[in-house]
Symmetry: C3
Subunit: 467 residues, 3 copies
């Protein structure tokens, strides 16, 4: 199924260059600085149970498409919050995927899954109603073997480092277990404080109290709250190997309030009396606080704004978060980031990596900002845009103003472990194709393109994330 020239331009000149560039990066180790795999996989190293549990139930890219075309979410085995029964026959779930495989034509999900089927499990036939069972059997057989356990796959995937993401309330037990185990695989955490810095997060007040309990700080006060966060960041660095923080706010709004204003706002947030605007302001202030702490402790800061989370209340009520109903929105950066940038934008010792779900901001706002401020870098094409066309548009709209060196390589950003090699391979191929076009149009020399290919595939991520 996988053509060796996939994703390369069909033009012979460009394809030849793309092949040469890709040869330089194909076998480089994978640096995965941002993602959502489950550290318990590597702590416990238990077999993945079956093909549907591995590939369908946890993959909202997959089941959102099925849902959009009339398949009930229950029918792909996603658990209901109310405990009502859902499909539990993994083979039936698998057949849902096979029956609707045509829906994924032209999508990255199809490309990622086929890459995993073939390179990880040796599947060489296209998924279809009449091949579903045989492919299911083959994958299921593999999963029973020790070489398909999480750690073995980690090594086979040539992962140099893999970052997970945890809440400050996480005690990092799995990360501790991994380290204590003597296994050489490098799995690090990232500090994702949304549950304790967003007044609108479910259970905010209780979360802040738990943060206090974990750190021994009095998080009922602004000062104690900040100290607890600083303390927890240190814990994530020391115990979980964290090199970065991650912030998933609805917008890129930042603020730079006086201590008194911030303190008063925090009290309101704890009291649950903030308005929507005040909650937004508080989140914005916390981004600036986090930047300040990053200057101290060196953690790289990632800002992931612009997702309208849980847009579908019916799906949210039945199944909870992260079920394919998060929708991007227009996102403004120039005015939103100004309070933070006014204070810290000129700091050479700070790295803030900006992401967007709004491609219109690439050339208009993000590349001009990152091409000026020393503290800013641009994250790769994200989420819905982490696709061949999306990655191509990203390079086309970002490079001329920000160059390549204000970008930070690739993030797979996935909870689908087996898709990690596929995603990095797609990124490497698309970048090589982009570079090949520049070379073929005599806008870049091939020796420089070859160096860039390695930078984009490997070095930039390692450097930007201090990995």
């Amino acid at each position: 199924m996988l053509h060796p020239d996939r994703l390369f331009p069909s033009d012979a000149t460009q394809r030849a260059i793309a092949r040469r560039l890709y040869a330089e990066v194909r076998d480089l180790p994978i640096v995965s600085p941002h993602g959502h795999t489950d550290p318990s996989w590597f702590a416990e190293d238990l077999p993945f149970p079956d093909p549907a549990t591995l590939f369908v139930k946890p993959d909202h890219y997959a089941f959102r498409m099925l849902y959009s075309q009339g398949v009930a979410i229950e029918d792909v085995g996603v658990k209901r919050l109310d405990g009502a029964p859902v499909e539990s026959d993994s083979r039936k779930i698998w057949r849902q995927l096979a029956d609707h495989w045509y829906l994924f034509r032209g999508t990255p999900t199809r490309m990622w899954l086929e890459h995993a089927f073939e390179t990880v499990f040796g599947v060489t036939e296209r998924l279809a109603p009449d091949t579903a069972d045989a492919i299911y059997d083959r994958i299921e057989d593999c999963l029973r073997k020790p070489e398909f356990r999480p750690r073995a796959l980690f090594e086979r995937f040539n992962l140099e480092v893999l970052a997970t993401t945890e809440s400050p309330l996480d005690t990092l037990e799995h990360h501790k277990t991994i380290r204590a185990s003597g296994w050489k695989g490098r799995v690090v955490t990232a500090f994702r404080p949304d549950p304790v810095v967003d007044p609108e997060f479910e259970g905010f007040k209780a979360n802040v109290e738990a943060l206090g309990a974990l750190t021994g700080e009095n998080t009922a006060t602004w000062k104690g709250y900040l100290a607890a966060l600083a303390n927890r960041r240190q814990y994530f660095k020391e115990v979980g190997g964290a090199t970065s923080t991650d912030h998933g706010h609805p917008t890129a709004r930042t603020a730079n309030l006086s201590a008194a204003e911030a303190e008063s706002l925090f009290a309101k947030a704890l009291a649950g009396t903030v308005t929507a605007e005040e909650a937004e302001l508080f989140r914005g202030q916390m981004l600036t606080e986090m930047a300040r702490m990053s200057l101290d402790d060196g953690l790289v800061m990632q800002i992931h704004p612009g997702s309208f989370r849980n847009h579908n209340p019916q799906v949210f009520e039945r199944f909870g978060r992260d079920k394919g109903a998060d929708i991007p929105t227009a996102t403004e950066y120039v005015r939103s980031l100004k309070p933070l940038l006014d204070r810290f934008g000129n700091e050479r010792g700070l790295t803030i990596i900006l992401f967007t779900l709004d491609e219109t901001s690439y050339a208009r706002e993000l590349a001009p900002l990152a091409g000026h401020y020393p503290a800013l870098r641009l994250g790769p094409a994200w989420w819905f845009h982490d696709s061949p066309e999306g990655m191509r548009r990203y390079r086309e709209m970002v490079t001329e103003t920000a160059g390549f060196y204000n970008t930070v390589g690739f993030n797979d950003d996935t909870r689908a472990f087996c898709s990690i090699p596929a995603r990095h391979d797609v990124a490497r191929r698309v970048d090589c194709a982009f570079l090949a076009r520049l070379v073929s149009e005599h806008r870049l020399d091939e020796d420089e393109a070859a160096e860039l290919a390695v930078d984009l595939a490997y070095r930039l991520a390692k450097n930007a994330y201090k990995l």
Copy 2:
């Protein structure tokens, strides 16, 4: 003038694939589920009078370009509302077009017109000042012949079905005449209620009263008004063969008011005392009401937001609506559609087709929405974007998130009858070119591309619009 490979990529690999795919769809019948041709043409089957009346006077794509470069609208024979004289010599009008033909280089208008000139009228020379008269004569000669009458052209164009658009106040006389005539051509209407659901529409109150008179309902009450609309929808289904409704609101705003709130707002609208914001809210509520009725009667719902109508007051005062002075605006969907989607977005039995004039919403909002909600589908690239580059961008920005099967094939959306084959041909060619690129880059197998080509050209429209 028409090259057999027009609109195909010049790359030999891609072109060869595009040719093969196009061979599968070139001769498929045309399904035209949305447009603005005049049903009287097919009811009366009178000859089109002359080339200027056929091609210039009714085509705001054509005369807006002439106007932008200094040609008076009067000089192309468009009637003034005040009855002041305008150019009546069709040959002179035709020469205006010929003299300014160079303005249309690189535009779809040029491509559509040349396609019609050559395939319908056998013209093989480029329009120019020195060929204007000969081409005029040739087309005029043709128009006198029976095989150039509307019904004959309908058949020659291989139209399987053609939808027109009518106001609820239309009695569908022409549609009745067509059906009564025994002619086999299938012409259906679509229900376009803007005049009776938009408080800012010219004559809203009188329109609502007329709706009451037509249906025997008391449209002075909210309940009677809704009943009248439901009644009229049924009439459009039964008498006009309608399978869809169409809604041309300034924005995508929807609302989900209580019956009491809606009733009170309706009373204000009738009284003419709504503010601009209330008018907007009322339109938004009516979209939700229409969705509710669609669940009952099965009519497919089309939402066409984002046009700032009649932007040029001088042109509007002199010539009225639809004179090339409608300008797209930025259009938000994620928050705007939420009230409607919260209520009906998960209905598998409902089809809402979304259009946009704001291409930034394709990848950011529309593809993510349509790739999740069962009730949503995406209409094709619309109006200013119904062009080779516009259609290419549409596929590039929509496919990776929504796939092909959350789209609904092509709409020609035209009042220019002779351009219908040209427009469908352009869409088929551009889609084949897009698919050919995917195949050439090994992102899609050719057997799947061939099936998709037929889906995009024919099946998706038939299915989505229940035709």
Copy 3:
């Protein structure tokens, strides 16, 4: 370094066409209707002092990239407002550029500079740490020779006309000197009234008083102020050869106030008591006043909205304006321009050239507006978008709705004199590549493309700017 086919598509069919089209335009004279070169260069004709002063210190494209990656602005010799010392060793500054040359891979800055190095100074090696000194020496040697003085370069660059930009408070001494000198080079000014029409401009009140002093009008009154502006426009026409005005407002907002309202707002602006909203309204009113004056005096009006100027307060305080910290913002045109267009949009005798830093407005707003209103034309891809990918997107998004003839050719818009031939060459090549694609896809005949190539490279600018 410069390949003869640079920027042409690699596809053999397209490349062959692009070469033929480019052969038609390569040697055409340069018409530069909008830019920011210093007229004193041509008045005094003194040698440019050294490579760093010529290429690095004044080029915010160059030093913003260095700054974004940690190089201090002081270290490239940009003067501080407080007089604190900055790097004064030009060779050291040059080495900063050479050491960081890799940052510019894939950027237009790299392309422009390499074009100047090779075509103006005969440099044939790539800039790098180990070639920096030799290249510096070569350029420095050249600069000492008479054939590298400004006027000689102007002639060598085949500049038919070059426009600079001056404030109404400028007395145009350099322009007078040029004219009095007997030198045949045509250098004209453009009228840029921002300092006297923007209440938020530094020193607005004093500027308006100075305007009164220059013109003998009582600029403390609205009537006198307007008379002074009209007077000054006339002066710019007569003394400086101006054919255009230029307006760099934060937004595209226009207004059409009554004389009484405008008068009252002007009084507030002079008194320094306008709110931000009133300042915006006043600027909007002044655009409309300028359009009215353009109808009288024939000056072509350019509107350049959408830059958030001086975004970085630390850089602004230390180094002042125009230091690479201007960031584009989302810009709305449809509602913003309506007051002006309602009044003057249908005037055939008026030319208003619109620019944008927000590419989303190309297809959505600007092409539809310019494809309708007789008074409107579209300026070329601007600033951050004046790049191969930016120019390609511009043609792809503008042409199908506005055609080519509602655009006005190329602006180099630069203060970097030696980059002028490079920039025009890039524009010519990108346009030829775009036309070649249309020809290769049989969307345009080659004879028409050849005519268009000359129009885009030369005639449209000459005509639109009345040069």
